[in-house]
């Protein structure tokens, strides 16, 4: 038995057994049992994924399990990477969930049974080897996650609304994937992936383009890419926090997996415009997502919008890889795809950490609104440290985690200027510099966003009584955060532990022999004169900081010191009301990007009864709506509602009218038959 077989079989068995156990065990121990079982499931998943990435693979066919199509599973290197990421996130979320569900009243059977099953469904999606299996796993994943999103619908009405959005959008996405893959299957011998791979070589460009665009719509909606992102900042924050982490860090990845699998593997690379489309969608999503996050004042919503940004960056990498591959530069394509896949891993690590920390804040204060937080450093030091680490990891600054993958991405994009006369040279020559600019702008805005989230949310003085009374979370939650934090640190300092494997995966996915990335401590890229050593960089940074601090101390020690109250312009002791809030922090950015975000402001001045020269109250409201949603979704929703109203006129309640519909339709069909025969 290979590592992969043991891992995948173990994950399946552990997940299902945990779900069964959660049904029977008493409420006292249910959280512990379900959490531990999920950790085992995730651990087995990591084992299977790592096994698949290091060369062994597994194929299982169970034709009797599902009617008509049967179940067939194959775990190869590409699928292994996504299985490993999902498993890793599940381990952290499982540990965290033991305490979180107990203290939030989520230890009823429903949530505890569905949670491990959700993990199992997510582990199976990248392992599916036929269209039937893939779609079944995809739908199971969507349904289980939907059940988890609406877990708290009795407590908060927003949850039900978020659940509706999610249910509709995820099923529209499913329908898109279904249509695309069925069109594809119609050209193949059967619905297994090898048959599709064979058929992909002979597909006409028109049919292949149709399959790609339709499946892209479905996969993009799962990854929260513009303009199909509207559900993500609603559903991810409203789920219980450990589920948010699992959704935001792991469940968006199958979108990327599907895109790479269908685009590169099954359809065999396709044409230039496909990948330019992917690149453009990714760039727009990255900038727009982080801009929305920068304006957001809700901690979990901000993290959800940052997911759109990061998936956008991943799509930039995938799109660039496609552009390079179609124009013949396969080595550089390998680097770009490796960057994208590494960013998937990094994003999973830091988004898990951030969502778990946000859940810890919610646990300790009951608040998610940044404008009502602040001063958490004193009450919850571990959570503050965890969120600070996560914020550093999410900002593309050394020694952050995201820095490594974004550096790789930028390297690929910068070296992507095509040689004169290459095919598709003009488009690439225009697209690459624009993509570099978009990635750079995104990185800058991400720094501002996470400085805001950390600075306003955790430092300074408490802005509300709830924030003042914050208390630290129980040990299981801290352990969950700690695991994710360790993963972030390792990925930031020693990315070379995973990069060679990622490079191999991207090489396999693109059909290139040699790995794109190598090196033990220093990251070396194939075909590009670029090298980076995050560990050395961090050491140098630390040395510089120590040196500067030491120098300042030495210089400052010569002067006499005096302790005094902070200068407050004579206005008395400074209160929390005088602090910078999240809204005010974002105000300059909002001014700069006024034309993009279009904030809605409303000033109401109430005058005194006696005289209109005296003002009684001034009310100021500001809202940053999602502009894409307003322009794209609201007209569609209004049109659907209008159709519904028009349709009601057909159904007046008269029995005769209903019978008449049947009669006239029957007669019309008969006449049609008689005439056309």
């Amino acid at each position: 038995m290979s590592l992969v077989a043991v891992g995948l079989g173990g994950a399946l068995a552990a997940g299902v057994l945990t779900a069964l156990a959660a049904v029977v065990v008493p409420r006292r121990v249910r959280s512990a049992v379900a959490g531990t079982g999920t950790v085992v499931t995730g651990g087995a998943g990591v084992m299977a994924g790592v096994g698949a990435m290091t060369g062994s693979s597994l194929s299982v066919a169970l034709p009797g399990l599902l009617p008509l199509s049967g179940v067939s599973l194959t775990l190869d290197a590409l699928g292994g990477l996504f299985v490993a990421v999902t498993g890793g996130v599940a381990v952290a979320a499982g540990v965290y969930g033991i305490s979180y569900t107990r203290s939030h009243g989520l230890d009823a059977r429903g949530v505890q049974v569905v949670f491990p099953l959700f993990v199992v469904a997510m582990l199976l999606v990248p392992a599916a080897a036929s269209v039937g299996t893939f779609l079944v796993c995809w739908e199971l994943m969507a349904l289980f996650s939907l059940l988890l999103v609406v877990a708290e619908h009795r407590h908060r009405p927003e949850v039900a609304q978020a659940g509706r959005w999610y249910a509709v959008m995820t099923h529209l996405g499913f329908v898109a994937v279904l249509i695309g893959l069925l069109v594809f299957v119609a050209h193949a011998a059967d619905d297994s992936f090898p048959a599709l791979r064979e058929a992909g070589r002979h597909l006409s460009p028109g049919a292949a383009g149709l399959v790609f665009v339709v499946t892209l719509a479905g996969f993009a909606s799962k990854a929260g890419i513009l303009p199909l992102h509207a559900w993500l900042p609603r559903a991810h924050p409203e789920a219980p926090s450990h589920v948010s982490a699992l959704m935001s860090a792991a469940m968006v990845n199958p979108g990327v997996y599907g895109l790479v699998r269908v685009g590169f593997d099954l359809l065999g690379g396709g044409t230039l415009w496909w990948w330019l489309l992917v690149l453009a969608l990714g760039a727009v999503s990255a900038v727009y997502g982080i801009l929305q996050a920068a304006m957001s004042t809700d901690l979990k919503r901000l993290l959800g919008q940052s997911t759109t940004e990061n998936m956008g960056l991943v799509l930039v990498g995938v799109g660039a890889a496609g552009v390079f591959a179609t124009s013949g530069n396969r080595v550089l394509a390998g680097v770009a795809l490796a960057a994208a896949l590494l960013h998937v891993i990094n994003h999973a690590a830091f988004k898990t950490l951030l969502f778990l920390a946000a859940g810890s804040v919610l646990h300790g204060t009951g608040a998610r609104d940044l404008d009502a937080l602040g001063g958490l450093r004193a009450g919850m030091p571990q959570t503050t440290a965890a969120f600070g680490l996560g914020a550093l990891a999410a900002s593309a600054l050394p020694p952050g985690t995201a820095f490594v993958s974004e550096w790789l991405l930028l390297q690929a994009l910068i070296h992507g200027l095509p040689a004169p006369g290459a095919t598709g040279g003009t488009a690439a020559a225009i697209a690459m510099p624009l993509a570099v600019a978009a990635v750079a702008l995104t990185a800058g805005l991400a720094v501002a966003t996470f400085v805001k989230a950390f600075g306003v949310g955790f430092l300074a003085k408490p802005r509300s009584a709830a924030a003042g009374n914050a208390h630290e979370s129980p040990p299981a939650m801290l352990v969950g955060m700690g695991l994710a934090g360790v993963a972030c640190v390792v990925l930031a300092l020693l990315p070379t532990l995973v990069l060679p494997a990622v490079g191999t995966v991207s090489g396999v996915a693109l059909g290139v022999g040699d790995p794109a990335v190598s090196g033990a401590v220093t990251v070396r890229l194939a075909g590009v004169a670029g090298a980076l050593s995050p560990l050395m960089l961090t050491l140098a940074l630390l040395a510089a900081v120590v040196l500067v601090v030491g120098a300042v101390r030495v210089v400052a020690a010569r002067r006499a010191r005096r302790a005094a109250r902070l200068w407050d312009c004579g206005g008395g002791p400074m209160s929390a009301r005088m602090e910078y809030t999240a809204t005010s922090f974002a105000e300059p950015l909002q001014r700069v990007f006024d034309d993009v975000v279009r904030p809605e402001q409303d000033v109401d001045v109430t005058h005194h009864e006696e005289s209109r020269y005296l003002v009684q109250a001034v009310e100021y409201r500001r809202k940053v709506p999602d502009r894409v949603e307003r322009r794209l979704y609201e007209p569609v929703l209004a049109a659907v509602a209008a159709w519904g109203r028009a349709g009601r006129r057909l159904a007046t309640g008269s029995v005769h009218r209903y019978l008449g519909y049947g009669f006239y339709t029957l007669c019309a069909v008969l006449i049609l038959v008689a005439v056309t025969r």
Binding site: T652, G653, G662, L670
Partner: protein, 224 residues
């Protein structure tokens, strides 16, 4: 039975079916409609009986007897009982389409049925069963007229008769195309119809108790 007599009897029975269906459209007295329906049941039974004699099939003969009992005896009896308890409303006062137009529509429906069933008729082997196959359009016409009654008549009882007319038509088409559905199948269908009529009778009684009328358009307000 020689071939000529068989054809004449079959055509007579089919003519009876069609004529009674049109009469249901023509008459407004509910009592008369029920009588006409009973006659149609008898015509249907006669049709099956003729087929049974022609084929020398005892099983088919039993089916004919069953059809006679059910469609000319039990169902009209049940309908009459429903009518007796209905009180005042004994006339189909205001059909949605008036009688003259209904009769014209029946003619059009007959033409449509003939046009549609041409391929079925052409399928028939030019031999033993061809007279029966030739009569398929009659059965189809009865189905369509039954549906038309359902759509245009207001009283619950007329609706019931329309539904039963459709069923008669479907049964007739069944016998004419296959020269004898199995006894079990026919038994099942008959029980189904009987049950439906019983349920609808109860519903009619309930309707009258609740609304004091059996005009289906009164049900309009129940929605939402």
């Amino acid at each position: 039975m020689n071939e000529t007599l068989f054809v004449q009897l079959l055509d007579l029975a089919c003519g009876g079916l069609l004529l009674t269906a049109v009469l249901v459209l023509w008459r407004r007295e509910l009592v008369v409609i029920i009588h006409v329906f009973a006659v149609q049941g008898a015509a249907l039974a006669a049709l099956v009986g003729v087929l049974a004699v022609h084929e020398d099939s005892i099983e088919l003969g039993a089916v004919a007897a069953g059809v006679l009992v059910l469609r000319a005896g039990v169902l009209p009896y049940l309908l009459r009982r429903a009518l007796a308890s209905a009180g005042e409303a004994r006339r189909e006062t205001r059909p949605l389409v008036n009688v003259a137009a209904s009769l014209l529509t029946a003619a059009v429906l007959t033409l449509l049925a003939y046009a549609v069933s041409r391929p079925l008729v052409e399928l028939a082997p030019s031999g033993l069963m061809s007279p029966a196959t030739q009569a398929i359009p009659i059965g189809l016409t009865v189905v369509l007229i039954g549906f038309f009654v359902l759509v245009t008549r207001r009283r619950a009882l007329s609706q019931l008769v329309g539904f039963l007319l459709m069923d008669n038509g479907i049964t007739a088409v069944g016998f004419l195309t296959t020269s004898g559905v199995g006894l079990i199948v026919e038994l099942g269908v008959s029980l189904d119809v009987l049950l439906a009529v019983l349920v609808l009778q109860i519903l009619t009684a309930r309707m009258r108790e609740t609304f004091g009328d059996t005009d289906l358009d009164e049900l309009r307000e129940l929605r939402d």
